[in-house]
Amino acid sequence: MSYQIVVCAGIVPDPLQTLEPVSTPQGPALKNEAMLPAVLDPWAAHALYEANHLAKNMPGSKVYLVSLAPKAKLQQVLMTIAQKVSFELIALDGPSTGFTDSHDVAAALAAAIEAIPGLDKSRLLLFGGWESAARAAGATLSMTGERLGIREQFQGVDSLTVGSDGSFEIRERVEGGKHLVSQCSGAPAVLGWATGNLPEPPNSPQVGMQNMRTVMPALQKAKPAGVAVTQQYASVALPKQQRSTRIVRDVAAAEVARELAQWIRGAH
């Protein structure tokens, strides 16, 4: 059994950056977004690591990374990502902000996937984040799947186990720290990943150099995705929560949980 695993991933500003919505002639945007360091959308990054893991265990499988993002910024992000996992890049040039319409983004992604030479939908697994750090609507991936005619869709996935008969056991997150366990006869399927179970793979410049042979031509070929911020926003604002970032060292999870609980209690 081998799969064509297509991972859809956008890029977002590094989560440590201070973000501020602003209005521009092209519509709403984040202040200085182009100049801020960017990372692969964290949810989608987990999907990529899971795809890599699955492909390694299923000989003959191949991972594609489809990304709609500003080309130059994407190139910087790939300097890290391409060192972690092996994939073939399909790049679309366009804004990766959360202000574009996910309907348009899904259309562009689906078209790019349809155009993959040798695409075999019977072996296709469409991976991505169950939501994105840019938009958090959780709509893009399912619409992309619909356009590709894939009806088996799972969201908030934490694990995928392939049975000996090729069937899938999939665990999706539900409320209260519980999982919904589903069986699925096999590909094609859409899996919107939560965090999965895999750590971030270490960097390996050797892997990176191999990937760059295909990554650079793909970036050069990247066509404008034809996606823009078209809709009107009455207003945009940061969520009203107070953000207080603290980096802690070597603190046990239970200790972090206790502190958080105490903080929440204190806030009421």
């Binding site: 440590l16 200085n32 300097m79 150099m209 760059m212 980096i247």
Partner: protein
Amino acid sequence: MPTTVRTKTATLKTLPGDDVRQIMWRYADRFDLQMLATSARAVARGPVARLVASGARNTHEWTPEKASLLKEYDASGITAAFMDSAYGGYLEGPKNMALSLTAFELAWVDGGAATASLAGCLALAPIHERGTEAQREEYMKRCSPALNPEPARGAFCLTEPLPYVGVETGLLSGKVKIVEWKEGEEPLLEVNKRGRFITNMGFANFVTAAVESADPRIKGSCMVILEETDPGIYDRGGPTKKMVHQLSSTNDPVFQLKIPASRIIGGYQVKDGVIVPHYDHAEIIEAVFRRTRVGVGLMTAAKLLSAIEPLLRYHRDRFRGGESTTPGTPRYDLGLQQKEDVLHRMLEVWATGEAAASLGFAAARIYDELDPIEKEKHRILTEQGTGRGMSAMRALRKLEPDAVKIVKEGGSSDSPLIQYLLLDSVANVLCPATKLWNTGHGANELREAVSLMGGYGITEDCPGFLVQKWTDAQLEATYEGPEAVQRRQLSATMTNEVFLAQFETWIRDLRAIASRIPATGACALATAMQMWLWTLRHLQHAKDADGNKLYQSARQGVTFPMADALCWLMSARQLILDTMELEAKGRDNPSLSEGFDGLMEFYTDLCSIQSARTAGEVGRICAELVFGYNRHTQWNDESCFHRQELVTLEAIIPGIEAVASDVVEDDGSHPSKAGPCVSFTGYAEFQALRAKMDGCVTGSQLAKDRAAESLIAVMIPAALDYPA
């Protein structure tokens, strides 16, 4: 159109990121280097930072947790960055930029972590630079993580216990002699060597050591490879109780080992029953250090730049949370950034860091360029039968006038030998300049950075580990040749006419930049360079008040300050050149275009600040040297007028009495000052240059005020990306 007047001020929007650095340090098209840098960064801001934060620096011993970093280096491609692809490496071509970027990224968090990585390369460097093919093959492969799950680790052992090798490396107490030499077989040697302050010694499996012959059957000195499995004593010694760089291992080892003569680095030949090593220890050390010292200088540069973000955050947030300090008030929004001195001192730290990084990476690039040319030079000279060492040097020296002529005529040459002379003469200045200025002046500016963090700065909890970075800089200034060694080297290399010819063209280039973008301060810098050159020429011929020669190697009071002054010039110049590169290439980068004007304004202002500071330093040094060796003129000197004399002269030169100020009256009284004004050959010329230079710093304080606006406006992340 000349941009002489800047009407609108744009400010820096975000901290300069990789897009900016890659353009300035010229590796925007080197994906291999970009990946290595990001990989090293992940190790630095992950495992290294966690170790520092957890207090791993508080022991002298080499602990398992410190040792775990070596594995991280292996896994992330840092160790293999030194290897050629034949030995499991993945980078093609020269590796100077690669090692420099690695050192830079690791030192951004911890200097000792960078040292631990560089020291492995240092141990291999003698073998890499001058080893035989078989030696290279064996040791590169054994140290390659791609080829071994447990790669071998090395140490480089030159320094010896007192009273032996330190700054002076000529006379070694480490000895080598022949213990057995059977007919037709490889001689067996015995090596006796003690080391002091040897990095990596807590775990090294082999050592490259400098020794001298204690046997009439071995000529001169050499470097040898010692193995922990060799018969005899391989005593690592105790850990050095160093106060800095504790994530590296340092010991005082003792070796008494029997080794085959095939361990002489670079091999040997037997002449009349005497082993003649192909390379003496001095030649190998020279080849090694000239490259590795650049990385050390870049470590301090990284630390200076790493201090910016934590300082900005500390200053801005200083008063937040106070009862009366509400959002929207200057006290809340700006914090300590309301205070001009804080902003101005920050800019000095920042400009120093930028100039240091620009200088260091320029030096690294030049070695990458030089490496293949040097090999070609070696090939040609061997073909010509000129060989190595002194005879090769003499052959090259003969070509120096040609090289100078080519530079003066503004031409270029296809001859590898001429190209070598041109590049080598610059590398021979930029390398010691990087090591000397970045670490020495860098340490001073790191102290400034610590001060700017107040009491927090001096604690272990200080975000960005500033106090560690400051004190670590003292070691960076010391190992691999302390400041005196660099000054001594510069004293010789900066008078090379091939270098000086290029130096003169650089002055013209800076004037061209100044006429296009005066705000860079390139004009002040060009004049400072002119003054330095004038002073050097003056000192090379002038004598002191007692008639002794001024510019000579024993006169370090003359040569060393001139070396210091040159470092200021080279670093400020490189910052301007890198800023010009940013101007040329940055605007087209879509990631930068949005904030490009502010970025350029800020860097231009940093250039101006650094140029003005440099002009000040150079002016002070040159004035002290030009004037300081003349004895103060006395009232009874010939140069001084007597009233009676003036009265007579007035008849011949009307008006002279009115303008002469240094006059001794008939009663012997004179104006209330130490002596008549000074005068010597060249005085007027020097004074004119000084006056011109003072004028050239026009606008530099305005640049500071403008750049300060950027410090206030620039967006910074919510938290540092490594723990504190």
